[in-house]
Amino acid sequence: MDEPADSLASASFFTGARDVAAGISRREAIARTLKAGAGLSVLSQVGGLLRGATEPPPSPSAPGPVTVTLNINGDAHTLAIEPRVTLLDALREHLGMYGTKKGCDHGQCGACTVLVNGERVNSCLTLAVMHPGDDITTIEGLADGDALHPVQAAFIKHDAFQCGYCTPGQICSAVALIKEGHAKTDAEIREQMAGNICRCGAYQHIVAAVREAMQPTG
């Protein structure tokens, strides 16, 4: 049953849907995150305010910021950032795109999975300065306007999440998995999704969602 979003006290933190208001159902709130495109223009504006808030102070005589242009979900974003800023932190802390999640920050969970030139990578273990000229796709870039990406739709249909924190990474990973074409059986889906840990253990439903999204007819 749908619960009021209020009961998910931290929902706005992990979904990035900062406009979650009382009365919006959990399902709706998550569906919004999955679409995400809607809130994004607002979020990229607040991004500027947050800049610097969570960064450690630069070390003495540290090299200063460098300019890098990132192509994210079809839009060019020019940033002045230190070379040590990971792609994940550039997205979240500098661009205010909270769809991509930080779980472990060490390549061990997959929450930060994004697509770089169509290939899935852990955005926590790559630097933003390594990606000028690359096409970066995040969870916010998958939907086509109001039409969900088939993988997003399948995740909702199969209830393939509980808390939703791993979900953006799971979905980006599944989009790449389908394109790669190495998984046919459920066992192969599990193996090819192994880089995405779900702390809630929603694996059964995730496999069902990926299996459905894999069908040629969608």
Binding site: S59, P83, R84, G110, T126, L127, M130, L177, G195
Partner: protein, 328 residues
């Protein structure tokens, strides 16, 4: 995370030139090990030189047969290469048994060869660790050493080399191509890694600033009969507790030649010479497989928590040999 400057080198010679200069340099490839270490404080380079754009990202057929694998070929591209799948299946299997699809997409051939141990005392950045801080001691010796090595250890360090890919490459007689300011040289992969000596931070023969440019695999027909088997705490996305890479030349019911290497149990990707010698010329029976495993593991040294690895490794190697012998 310490700060550093970043430069993208366009040619190998440029990267070598960039190496010299003030501040500690480090080459950066996929970053899946190096950036992790910088975050942990295990490594604190001041200048990163990105080597992904040096034109070393191809897998080429060598004129006399065999393959040249560029240093920055991704682990994914290598694992799914048609020639690798057909002629060196053990390599494909080993790579695909490691890490995750995301990590394999970013990880490179050279980065995989040079990845450091997963010893938790090394990674915590605090404990006494001869590998991280020369002469500081080894917290693992008297600590929780369940995942540590039983082969090749010393009283200074008992850390395992974590790679799967390298274990397979050792069985395939891989040769590493290196380039430094004074020119190029080649080193067989099994001589590339060194035994732990006075300073366990010294893991290989790479000189400061030297670049890995490629790994060559020879054309050896019977390497097509090869296989990788890995035992670990969970079914995927986990490092080996014990693993075995095997290639067998079976003719007229006899093991004419073989290559065997072990992972997860040794301080370096471990070429199992004693096991190979025990197996050569025998009939491929369970008894022969057990004798081969015993020959290699008789020198194993267990610590307080990792004694189980000896038995696990015996079973892992026997399973790998049995499966390889049964291949069509």
């Amino acid at each position: 995370m310490n700060n550093f400057s970043y430069i993208l080198a366009a040619q190998p010679d440029e990267a070598l030139r960039d190496w010299t200069g003030p501040g500690r340099p480090a080459y950066l490839a996929g970053g899946t090990n190096l950036i992790d270490h910088i975050k942990l404080g295990v490594d604190q380079p001041q200048r990163l030189i990105d080597v992904r754009n040096l034109g070393l990202d191809q897998i080429e057929a060598l004129p006399g047969g065999g393959l040249r694998i560029g240093a920055t070929v991704s682990n994914t591209a290598l694992a799914y290469d048609e020639r690798v799948l057909k002629d060196y299946p053990v390599l494909s299997q080993a790579i695909l048994s490691g890490a995750s699809p995301q990590l394999r997409n970013a990880a490179t051939t050279a980065g995989n060869l040079l990845q450091r141990t997963r010893c938790s005392y090394f990674r915590d950045g605090l404990s006494p660790c001869n590998k991280r801080q020369t002469g500081s001691g080894c917290a693992a010796l008297g600590g929780f050493n369940r995942t540590h090595a039983v082969l090749g250890t010393s009283e200074r360090c008992i850390a395992t080399h974590p790679s799967d890919m390298d274990v397979a490459m050792i069985t395939l007689d891989a040769v590493v191509r290196l380039r430094g300011v004074s020119g190029e040289r080649t080193v067989p992969l099994q001589d590339f890694y060194v035994a732990y000596g006075e300073d366990p931070a010294k893991e290989n023969v790479l000189k400061p600033g030297e670049l890995i440019t490629a790994v060559d695999l020879p054309a050896t027909e019977w390497f097509a009969r090869s296989y990788y088997f890995k035992a670990r705490d969970r079914a995927s996305y986990e490092f080996a507790l014990a693993s075995a890479a095997v290639a067998l030349d079976l003719r007229e019911g006899l093991v004419r030649d073989c290559r065997i290497a072990l992972g997860g149990v040794a301080t370096k990707p471990w070429r199992a010479h004693a096991a190979e010698n025990a197996l050569k010329g025998t009939r491929p029976t369970e008894q022969a497989f057990r004798a081969a495993a015993n020959a290699e593991l008789s020198s194993a040294v267990p610590r307080a928590h990792n004694g189980f690895k000896i038995e696990l490794c015996r079973g892992t190697l026997m399973q790998a040999l049995q499966t390889t012998a049964a291949l069509a």
